[in-house]
Amino acid sequence: MALLEIRDVTRRFGDFTAVDKVSLSIEAGEFFCLLGPSGCGKTTLLRMVAGFDAPNGGSIWLDGKDMTGVPPEKRNVHTVFQSYALFPHMTVADNVGFPLKMAGLEPAAIKTRVDEALDDVALTGFSGRYPNELSGGQRQRVAVARALINRPKLLLLDEPLAALDAKLKENVQLELITLQKEVGIAFVYVTHDQQEALALAHRIAVMNHGRVEQLDEPSKIYGFPKNRFVADFIGTCNILDAEVARIDASRMQLRIPGLGEVQTTQIDGARPGDKGVLALRPEQVAISPQLRPDPDENHFAGKVFDFLYLGDVTVYVVELPNGSRVEAMLPNSAPGRAKFFEPGDAVEISWRFDAGRFLTE
């Protein structure tokens, strides 16, 4: 049995269904991400696992025990809150030692454990400080140390990096990965930031409107989104309206209104006449000034509409004859190079048949 089993959990607030029959299982030692836009139910689900909220239907099992009716203080699960929720009237040492004190440990034992825990998060020497004397990154580490000190079965993290600036975020992500490996405790990490989820998690559950849209490894979620929502939410994606024209031996021909036919990989269950979208990642779209015919590629002529210089890459927005716009990404490998094309340039875009995905919903 998995460490955490969420079975058909539903939570309604009046007419609004925040979590709709969600089932998940999380293994010991796993770094699991709940990813979705705000209001998708991920935080509600997390609060139910922590015990702050109870499902209207379904059950939550931790380590083989039904958690129904078990209050948060009796669950072997700790939470790192988005605001960190450090006790402002306690020093760093008292904050970190709080769970041990509640568990009734002797002061001397608490002190030893707290010193160890602070050492683990590189905060030795900060034990006498108050939370308002720490930086955002230090507070985050105190919150993690406090939540881990009495070794819960499961650590829940509710957007713990939302308050940090971008540069610090990256360092903290690496720290979290290392820490999770070291302690071997399963992490359930809630975020709306897809990059964070892709970087951190072993597995991601993408949620929307209270349901799990897709549950998979990060590379599968990114590379093989199951539906339009996932494709759109994870990374950037070109979405073109499409209809299945015919299905050949191994490939599928899509008709894109006003543009023509596009070949793509076959999708199980797709039939001619099915309507949907073609999802295409910008980095899979090549952009060049002249035609380079290749039977495995789709080619379209277009015109550069605009471009975005992002430092490492430049994203070109290319307008196609049917008026739709496709983003293509080119790396700026040569130093000082900001762009290859100007707005208005006639270009050709192309992508391999297996780059795009046909999604029916």
Binding site: A50, P72, T79, F81, L86, F87, P88, H89, M90, M102
Partner: protein
């Protein structure tokens, strides 16, 4: 620069003037008066007296202080008033804390109404409210009747409520309760509820959540409320006058007596001085203790 200085004086000037006129100068007059002699018909004797024979005597003395320290009656009265004020503060805290917590944790749209109810008694006259207690605690009241009937059932003698220390404390608590509720509410309302979630998440039961998180964080409110109740309760005279009878007299009554009945202003000033020094000393100690508690927490 000059306009900014003008603005600063413009803003701080009026309250400063107010404090100088109605606090600093009266205090200085009182300090001075405590060293002077009473006038023949009350009030104060002139400091410099021109005798008939042309000699000048300067009427300044330490006699008033001597009188205070030589008669233990006054120290006892101070001590008694101190205990009345302490009990009042403690009872107010015990009643006000749950009330303030209830208001702070009720839905936002109800809070203003509940706060309004707390300060509603201020809309009627102070003396009328205290006289109302005279009726409630009086021997003919329903309350006293029911209480004594109940006591009688268990074989106890009937008790007298009015004109006892009990009545004084009831009056003191009743009048000062809002001064405890309001600062406590203002403090508790600001607490971040996620801190309680965090404490619960980390294994604290409801008792521990209160004593480890809510209460220590509310200490500034507790000290503010305690000061607002203790200091006026310590020196009050109207409530013991009305509800206390002869046994319930407090130091405020003696001060009032000295000024209005005995017309011994210098001795009244001595008592006022001592009252002020004790109250300021206690408030200073409380502030120091609160800071130290914060540092050791």
């Amino acid at each position: 620069m000059d306009s900014r200085r003008a603005a600063r004086w413009g803003i701080s000037g009026p309250p400063l003037l107010y404090l100088v006129l109605f606090f600093a100068i009266p205090t200085l007059i009182m300090v001075l008066a405590s060293f002077r002699l009473p006038g023949d018909f009350g009030g104060l004797a002139p400091i410099v007296e021109q005798g008939d024979d042309g000699t000048r005597t300067i009427n300044l003395t330490l006699e008033n202080y001597q009188r205070f320290f030589s008669d233990p009656l006054y120290a006892e009265l101070f001590l008694k008033s101190f205990w009345y004020a302490v009990i009042t503060t403690a009872v107010c805290l015990l009643i006000a804390y749950p009330l303030a917590m209830l208001i702070a944790r009720s839905p936002k749209r109800h809070r203003d109404l509940l706060v309004l109810l707390v300060i509603l008694p201020f809309w009627s006259n102070f003396l009328i409210r205290v006289y109302a207690w005279m009726i409630i605690l009086g021997p003919q009241s329903v309350f006293t009747g029911v209480l004594n009937a109940g006591l009688g059932l268990f074989g106890f003698e009937p008790v007298r409520l009015l004109f006892t220390p009990f009545a004084v404390v009831v009056g003191l608590v009743y009048v000062h309760l809002p001064f405890m509720v309001l600062p406590l509410y203002a403090n508790l309302e600001k607490h971040d509820p996620v801190l309680l979630d965090a404490a619960q998440d980390l294994g604290a039961n409801s008792w521990q959540r209160f004593w480890r998180v809510t209460f220590p964080l509310s200490l500034p409110g507790v000290f503010a409320g305690a000061a607002l109740v203790f200091i006026p309760a310590f020196g009050i005279f109207a409530i013991p006058d009305i509800l206390g009878g002869t046994g319930g007299i407090m130091i405020g009554n003696v001060i009032k007596q000295q000024f209005l009945d005995t017309r011994d202003w210098p001795f009244g000033s001595v008592l006022s001085m001592v009252l002020t020094i004790v109250a300021v000393g206690l408030a200073g100690f409380a502030a120091w203790y609160a800071r130290r508690a914060r540092a050791l927490a």
